[in-house]
């Protein structure tokens, strides 16, 4: 064992990793595979068929839920992007102690179990007399997502040097111009990434939507949940596969796209003394 150098692969860790990836993907692959099963069985594959998908696309109630979820995610992504960026910019400039405490409160949703946020939102909305609907879901999702945007954008702000904005001010920019022409373009990759991330998270979020939605139409995850409780069916496999595909692609985009833009602006980063990778 004296030759235990770093170059040697740690057998145990690699074995656990391989098993982990199998465990991670096995259920997902099974769901996707059996969504193309021509029979109802979830264990015997009788033949290839897309009937569960055509069932889904001819089910107007489910399609309405899908469109509801897409609309909620779009509005929530845009709303939390605006508010979260404002919060990040504000926190970056604030140095006084009480104001920083306020900033900490705004990040609390990140460490609060989602069921608590959901229950609280439900009580608030019914308490002030708002009728539960897709709008209440959207309001709750925005509130929950602001913290994500703030954390990501602050990370990016932290790696930017404040002198750039000061230079813009020295060159005669108003604060608003400096923000619009200098800071926001530099933040673009972070904004794009966090916007896509929030969209994906909200699109398939279940817990918050469950507590804050009205009766009809319901967001897609809430509808799926009520049908899962009555049992498993190939139809849910098809919807589930579609949902995994949509949010999976969005997350991939959230990971890849900002990098693409980063590379393009890397020369600018160099000049401005920004982060180099």
């Amino acid at each position: 064992m004296s030759a235990g150098r770093l170059e040697r692969k740690p057998f145990l860790a690699v074995a656990v990793t391989v098993a982990f990836f199998a465990w991670l993907y096995l259920p997902i692959v099974a769901v996707a595979l059996f969504s193309f099963n021509s029979a109802k069985s979830l264990s015997v594959f009788s033949g290839f068929s897309t009937r569960w998908y055509s069932d889904f696309f001819s089910n107007s109630a489910l399609l309405e839920s899908l469109s509801a979820s897409l609309r909620i995610a779009t509005v929530a992504a845009l709303g939390s992007l605006v508010l979260g960026t404002m919060l990040a910019l504000g926190l970056e400039r604030i140095t006084s102690r009480p104001a920083r405490a306020v900033g900490a409160v705004t990040l609390m949703p990140l460490v609060t179990p989602e069921i608590v946020t959901g229950v609280a939102a439900l009580l608030l909305f019914t308490g002030v007399g708002l009728k539960l609907s897709l709008s209440t879901v959207t309001l709750a999702e925005i509130t929950f997502s602001i913290a994500y945007v703030t954390v990501i954008v602050r990370g990016r702000l932290g790696s930017m040097s404040p002198e750039v904005e000061e230079a813009a001010r020295d060159l005669g920019c108003t604060p608003w111009q400096a923000l619009r022409l200098v800071t926001l373009p530099a933040l673009f990759p972070a904004l794009l990434g966090s916007g896509l991330l929030v969209f994906a998270l909200v699109f398939d979020d279940f817990v918050l939507a469950f507590f804050t939605t009205g009766v009809d139409p319901q967001p897609l995850p809430v509808r799926i949940y009520s049908s899962i409780r009555f049992g498993i069916s190939p139809a849910i496999n098809a919807v589930g596969t579609l949902m995994l595909l949509v949010s999976g692609l969005l997350i991939v985009a959230a990971l890849l796209l900002p990098r693409l833009f980063n590379r393009k602006t890397s020369s600018l980063d160099l000049i401005t003394g920004g982060e180099r990778r």
């Binding site: 064992m1 770093l6 690699v14 993907y25 705004t106 179990p113 009580l123 949940y225 498993i232 949010s247």
Partner: protein, 270 residues
């Protein structure tokens, strides 16, 4: 500031409403009203509820322990031996984790159900007549680990990435034996990541109700299921609010103790 006002209007005030309603009661017509009675909290001091609360705590702690056992080797293998595939491997973990928690729980339900792929495979191979996986604590805790282990992998991976690899080399020269090197060099260097990951896994696991609902049953219900029932089925909102406040209170105490203990320990090390 607009975002702060938004957070106060929608988040802080909503928390206050929960606290206020936890002292309220339900009218004869089923309407919840505010009040000043501690009756809901007194009602929680009941063996049935206490058992459920302790069970949730146990499940959440088991989830944390299992997550460390799974996440550490994975993060270690990728961070130190992933080579140029590091980012791709981490992405391959992150992507499914951020795609629909609900569908992933459903996927396990489909796989482990009595007529699911695993049981039919067991029957066909003649190994067993089938095993009732669902409705067991194993299924629920397994679901929680499956749901939240990424929150352990990412911080541990990040702290392993930041670590100076030559320290491990030096440790091996000094202490010999990979195990002693791991305990005296690698583990302390990743302490912050581990502590952070434990918190990030524990918090959502304690409040979860989807895993126990889909993979478990009434015998494996957690506090989240109880709260959910008060709002969706039982319609006793003040009692549900008291449960929520009690859970948040316990969480806050645990978090303060935990953060105190971990920050002083990390400070001592560095």
């Amino acid at each position: 500031m607009v975002p702060t006002a938004w957070m106060v209007a929608f988040f802080v005030s909503s928390m206050l409403v929960v606290v206020l309603l936890s002292f309220g009661h339900t009218q004869a017509d089923g309407q919840p009203v505010f009040g000043t009675t501690p009756a809901n909290f007194a009602a929680l001091w009941d063996p049935v509820y206490l058992e459920l609360f302790l069970r949730s705590l146990g499940y959440a702690l088991a989830t944390v322990v299992l997550s460390v056992a799974v996440a550490y080797p994975v993060a270690y293998a990728i961070a130190l031996h992933g080579g140029r595939y590091k980012n791709a491997l981490i992405a391959a973990i992150v992507v499914p984790f951020f795609a629909s928690y609900l569908i992933r729980m459903y996927a396990w339900k489909a796989l482990l159900s009595d007529d699911g792929l695993v049981n039919s495979g067991l029957r066909k191979s003649g190994l067993s007549d089938g095993i009732a996986f669902l409705n067991t604590p194993w299924a629920v805790v397994g679901g929680l680990v499956y749901g939240f282990v990424v929150f352990m992998i990412l911080p541990v991976y990040a702290s392993l990435e930041r670590m100076d690899v030559s320290l491990i080399e030096a440790g091996k020269d000094l202490y010999h034996g990979p195990l002693r090197t791991f305990v005296t060099v690698t583990l302390p260097a990743t302490r912050a990541g581990l502590y952070g990951g434990m918190l990030l896994v524990f918090l959502p696991a304690l409040g979860d109700f989807v895993s126990a609902q889909l993979l478990g049953g009434p015998r494996t219900y957690m506090i989240g299921n109880l709260i959910q029932q008060q709002f969706a089925e039982g319609q006793n909102w003040p009692l549900g609010s008291a449960m929520t406040v009690a859970m948040m209170g316990a969480l806050t105490v645990l978090m303060v103790v935990y953060l105190r203990a971990t920050t002083t320990r990390t400070r001592e090390r560095s």
